[in-house]
């Protein structure tokens, strides 16, 4: 019962009807719905989700009574141990990770860390804790939420508002469009190019495929939640408009970046060993010495982020590439500033466009490591300039071209007006219905779904 299946459409419709028909039981309906969703997708791994929820809830309550580090560490060891074991044992052909395990494990770890640090009180009811971890729109690909961002919304009732449904359905439609038309049409070409062909074309098309797949899935999750009156956090903010790699990671998979920053980067940075190193380096290495602890903490964080994506060497290299580019940019900052003071190009729109294209291309090169568990193969393919051919036909290119133009215009609109769906609500109905009608038609006619397609499978399910 993936997001884009007939089963989910029926499930979603029934859930919405019950949710607004019985407003006093909304929390229970979401709980039951999340259990049904999980059992419908991954019944065998439900015990693991329950184990994380029970241990998170119990640890939170014990930490409140007696905030000993031992129980906190035991919780982290157990749950990250399970996550690691799953990644080692299940990330191979014919197997799949338990649904949502990365996301709910991170969310549970953040929850217990917050209680340990006394940033928030523990949840008293197990049902609330379970719902926070198992809320089904988040299970497929996140975003990862802190308790304060989600729990209050899940535990209070929401009155029916037509606007929520209008905005929510609009967002889900856009998500389906990106997933089924953009990602769906590119997937066969990317798979074929992965086997052989021009690697530069591969990484460019893969960038667009993963954009459609990941942001499309998030749109569906956030859109459905919006229908319920629940506002989830944004996970993307026009990522292809980024002007630097550091800037890209503030616009792409935002919740993972925030989690890594709060629970890995900052704790590592202020740990005793790094503070000791920092004291020494500030005294002996001058200006660079002030930055050394930051760079070390960043190196560790990127290594962890790489490993989160996968346990093969290519993901560690991926993390290191991100680290190196960001660190180099920091070190070259004085040279960039001298250059821009002399040439004054930074304010010009063309220079801004160049920065975005440069970042897009560089990010594609880094992301290419995702595709090659054997690093040597990626390097060898980069050295070859194979002919620019794909299995896409002229009709596919036409459809992708129209899709690309629409998404670019939509993104430019969002950059100018903020949430375009809200902006459209205030415009004449003809404009609104024309745009949504176009998107619906494109999705129904040109989307890749039906027999032979697994429309409900998302790339980030595997992480």
């Amino acid at each position: 019962m993936g997001f884009l299946s007939e089963g989910f459409l029926l499930f979603g419709a029934v859930l919405l009807l019950l949710y607004y028909r019985f407003p006093r039981g909304q929390k229970q309906i979401l709980l039951a719905g999340s259990l049904v969703f999980y059992c419908g997708n991954d019944l065998w791994h439900l015990p693991l989700l329950l184990l994380t929820a029970v241990t998170a809830w119990y640890t939170g309550l014990r930490l409140q009574k007696n905030g000993k580090k031992g129980i906190f560490l035991a919780f982290l060891l157990l749950n990250f141990g399970i996550l690691l074991a799953c990644k080692v044992l299940l990330l191979r052909p014919g197997h799949a990770l338990p649904l949502g395990i990365s996301f709910y494990t991170f969310q549970a770890a953040g929850y217990c860390t917050g209680v340990y640090r006394k940033s928030h009180a523990p949840v008293q009811k197990f049902s609330d804790c379970f719902l926070y971890l198992a809320f089904f729109p988040l299970l497929v690909q996140g975003p990862i939420h802190k308790p304060g961002e989600l729990l209050p919304q899940l535990t209070r009732s929401h009155a029916f508002q037509r606007e929520n449904l209008a905005l929510g359905f609009g967002r889900m439609l856009l998500g389906a469009f990106k997933k089924l038309v953009l990602a769906g049409r590119l997937a066969p070409a990317v798979a074929a190019l992965r086997a052989e062909g021009n690697v530069y074309l591969l990484i460019t098309l893969y960038a667009l495929e993963i954009y459609g797949d990941f942001t499309g899935g998030i749109d569906i999750a956030l859109g459905f939640s919006e229908c319920l009156g629940i506002r989830l956090k944004e996970n993307f903010r026009l990522p292809f408009f980024s002007k630097s790699i550091a800037g890209f990671w503030r616009r792409w998979h935002i919740s993972l970046g925030e989690w890594m920053r709060e629970y890995i980067f900052y704790p590592v940075s202020v740990s005793r060993p790094l503070r000791r190193l920092g004291k020494w380096s500030r005294k002996h290495l001058g200006a660079f010495g002030k930055r050394l602890p930051v760079y070390l903490a960043s190196l560790i964080t990127w290594a962890v982020t790489g490993i989160w994506h996968g346990l093969t060497p290519n993901f560690l290299i991926w993390g290191m590439c991100n680290f190196l580019v960001i660190t180099l940019s920091q070190e070259l900052e004085p040279i960039y500033e001298k250059f821009h003071r002399k040439f004054r190009w930074k304010q010009k729109p063309l220079y801004g466009a160049w920065e975005m294209i440069r970042t897009f291309c560089l990010m594609n090169l880094i992301r290419g490591w995702d595709l090659f568990p054997n690093p040597g193969e990626y390097i060898a393919r980069l050295r070859l300039f194979a002919p620019l051919q794909t299995c896409l036909r002229p009709a596919d290119w036409g459809i992708l071209g129209v899709t690309g133009v629409f998404l670019l215009l939509w993104s430019l609109g969002e950059a100018k007006y903020g949430c375009l769906r809200t902006w459209l609500l205030e415009k004449p109905w003809l404009l609104r219905w024309s745009i949504y009608g176009f998107v619906l038609l494109m999705t129904l006619v040109f989307g890749k779904y039906g027999p032979g397609y697994d429309a409900g499978s998302f790339i980030y399910n595997q992480f």
């Binding site: 940075s269 202020v270 500030r282 002030k290 930055r291 903490a297 920091q330």
Partner: protein, 72 residues
């Protein structure tokens, strides 16, 4: 507080570090925050734990000074 303002000005001479919005206006990024923690330890002998590195505590020099002064 003046010493703290000096540290902030060294990190970002171009910015108005006395005004609020150090985080919300994107003046301080995560690298700056870690560098700031190191300078605070050197100059005030105060260690700010990771739990204190929140947007609320870091968004203004005044808010940050409050977190430092309770530990002096």
């Amino acid at each position: 507080m003046d010493k703290l303002l000096d540290i902030l000005r060294e990190l970002h001479p171009e910015a108005d570090v006395e005004a609020p919005g150090l985080i919300t206006n994107g003046i301080l990024d995560s690298f700056d925050i870690v560098a700031l923690v190191g300078e605070i330890e050197d100059r005030f002998q105060v260690v700010l734990p990771a739990s204190e590195l929140t947007p609320e505590n870091l968004d203004s020099a005044q808010a940050l000074w409050e977190r430092i002064s309770v530990r002096l």
